[in-house]
Amino acid sequence: MQIDCDIHPGTPGTAALFAYLPQAWREMSEVRGITDLASINYPDNTPLTARADWRPASGRPATTAALIGAQCLDAFGSDLGILNPLFGIQTLYSDDLAAVYASALNDWTRAEFLERDKRLRASIVVSLENIEMAVAEIERLAADRRFVQVLVLAGSARPLGRRNHWPLYEACVRHQLALAIHAGSELRNPPTALGWPSYYLEDYVANAQAFQVQLTSLFAEGVFNKFPTLRVVMLESGWTWLPPLLWRMSKYWHGLRFEIPWADRSPAEVVRDQVRFSLTPADAPADPARLQRLFEHLGSDELLLFSTDYPHAQFEGAEAYPPGIDGALRDKIGGANVLAAYPRLNEAAP
């Protein structure tokens, strides 16, 4: 069994969502010229945004279920795939516009992809601009068991552990949905705490630091204490940065325990219990021996979930795994770990 946990369906433009927008909002979009919500998290033509062999002659990649089925699921031998749409509805400032487009995006994903290929599953995309409306969107879609998680971006406006987000996590737990944090930013804050970098390369590298901040926030705020059954999945995050971060978090926790007295498990324990990471990009050392040592630092073979990050260009050819990950571990990463992370995937196919 192999399940690809990070696939990105391409949205050509807002017009692709019009069929799923109420008439008034469709007209509003046309009148105002709201033609596209793709964010600068992935400018269309960078070498990273689409691998050359996955980029069509014109337009955006991965825009149909057929393409994803062939180029991703078939090509990599995956039995199931989880779609994480990245059309940038999160960057919309207006609560209502953001909510309307989030719903349209989710309905588009369902109709154009989930309905057309039974191997596909998806994220419920929400805007964090208005948490009540985000919860309403989850409630609206939760009964459809093909949605396995709620998707938010690593570059959020406030650290994700903060209590204003908690109704979202309550809804996740209530409906056995994972919380997925994906690379990218709402761009309410600059990509770094030092302001705005000059280069896209810096913006993209900065995602790793954003994930580090979020893990620290979730731990410090006690999200794992308040929601002991919540599963958090970090997508397109990298994971080789994890052990040093856990060491640092643990060091400061010991001296600053009284600031967060609810924390009753070490950072390493909460991660082993409740946090998972998609495989790609691995940002792995080139030397397989060093990767082995890194796995010892990680202390668990249950943390990684197979992913290709299709159609992003993270690797060449058909080998998603970095050197040094063998057959038995691949079985876990592709199958058992994923099924453990996503309770809904264990249910009979809907």
């Binding site: 994700l160 804050n189 705490a193 030092l194 810096e202 954003a210 926030s217 001296g255």
Partner: protein, 356 residues
């Protein structure tokens, strides 16, 4: 604990003023009066200091109050007895964290930096041969910073130029290049010490709730500064520049270097000015000080990081008198060869800073 090394260079000691009046001898009357009325206007919330309250007063060891009074770090005699003598420090580098850098009134910032540099040299280094100072500069005014560096260039009391990590633009941004140019011209390393206030939230996901998050977060903000220095091409432009990341952590570096190399390989068409891989620049131009040492359950894992980064890149620092201080006697608690220890405790710093 093993036998203490005979030669220990401490790359991070924080001297403190008893009050800002200590700087008056080197400030014009107008700045003394200005400070009295308006304070030092920074990107900080409180009259008394930063937004995240520390875990202990002055973020310092409770046992470091000098017997004669004053805040921790304000007494040279007590620095000698409690730290330099007791811990066998042969050379100590002063990194003042006193209101000056990042002050929003750029003229005031420059005046305070000038005064602090005099204060370091005349009140500390002149009286204690084991100490060296750092040239603090008003980095948000890069031209004025270049002037300040030029003022002290060649003065052997000063070991480096000092910046703080949370600059208002990523630290490699071209607006800051006059600073690197002046440091390179003066053949001085540039040290970047954690803290400062950029004016942006302290994380890329907004403002965290807890001091704990700010402290862990220095690892992330220091990574952002390093990425900027590399990608903007500061090391390409000044191949001989030595850059020291102070109190930034270092265990994050191998994973960051792998990520940077990978992403650069994919996106290199965006940055044609870079002729080397990012990790190659880092291995050539960057050193890290050791404090605060991370604490894995298995201390040998820390040793792995030392091996992966290279024993030639890491330099001991204590952060005296701060609370998360590292005692040199307990810095290397995993198997390490004598040559490596000697590098870590002294030889690397002597090379980087040009101490004989």
């Amino acid at each position: 604990m093993t036998e203490r090394p005979a030669d220990i260079v401490d790359c991070d000691i924080h001297p403190a003023v008893r009050s800002m009046a200590d700087l008056d001898p080197w400030l014009e009357r107008r700045w003394i009066e200005h400070f009295r009325q308006y304070g030092a206007l920074r990107n900080q919330h409180y009259v008394a200091g930063g937004g995240y309250h520390k875990s202990q007063p002055n973020a310092s060891r409770r046992d470091a109050y000098p017997p004669e009074g004053g805040p921790q770090g304000s007494s040279l005699p007590f620095l000698r007895s409690q730290h330099l003598d007791q811990n066998g420090i042969t050379v100590g580098i002063l990194n003042p964290l006193i209101s000056s850098q990042g002050v929003r009134n750029l003229q005031h910032s420059a005046a305070l930096c000038r005064a602090i540099n005099h204060w370091q040299a005349e009140r500390w280094v002149d009286s204690e041969p084991r100490l060296r100072a750092s040239i603090v500069v008003p980095y948000e005014d890069p031209e004025a910073s270049a002037v300040e560096i030029g003022r002290w260039a060649g003065d052997r009391r000063f070991a480096q130029v000092l910046l703080l990590s949370r600059t208002s633009f990523p630290t490699g941004n071209k607006r800051y290049w006059p600073i690197f140019a002046a440091a390179a011209e003066a053949n001085l390393p540039v040290g970047i010490h954690a803290f400062g206030n950029s004016g942006w939230p302290v994380s890329s996901a907004g403002w965290p709730s807890f001091y704990l998050e700010e402290m862990v977060g220095h690892a992330q903000t220091s990574q952002s500064g390093l990425v900027s220095l590399v990608v903007e091409g500061v090391f390409e432009r000044w191949p001989a520049l030595k850059l020291v990341l102070i109190e930034s952590g270092f265990t994050w570096a191998p994973a960051l270097m792998a990520r940077l190399d990978r992403d650069w390989a994919i996106l290199k068409s965006e940055v044609p000015h870079l002729r080397l891989k990012p990790s190659e620049y880092i291995r050539r131009n960057v050193w890290w000080t050791s404090q605060p040492l991370d604490e894995p359950d298995n201390k040998r894992w820390l040793g792995d990081i030392f091996s992966w980064l290279g024993w030639d890149r890491l330099m001991f620092s204590s952060d005296y008198p701060h609370w998360d201080f590292d005692d040199p006697a307990r810095a290397i608690m995993f198997p390490a060869g004598d040559d490596d220890r000697a590098r870590f405790f002294a030889a690397n710093a002597r090379f980087v800073y040009g101490f004989a």
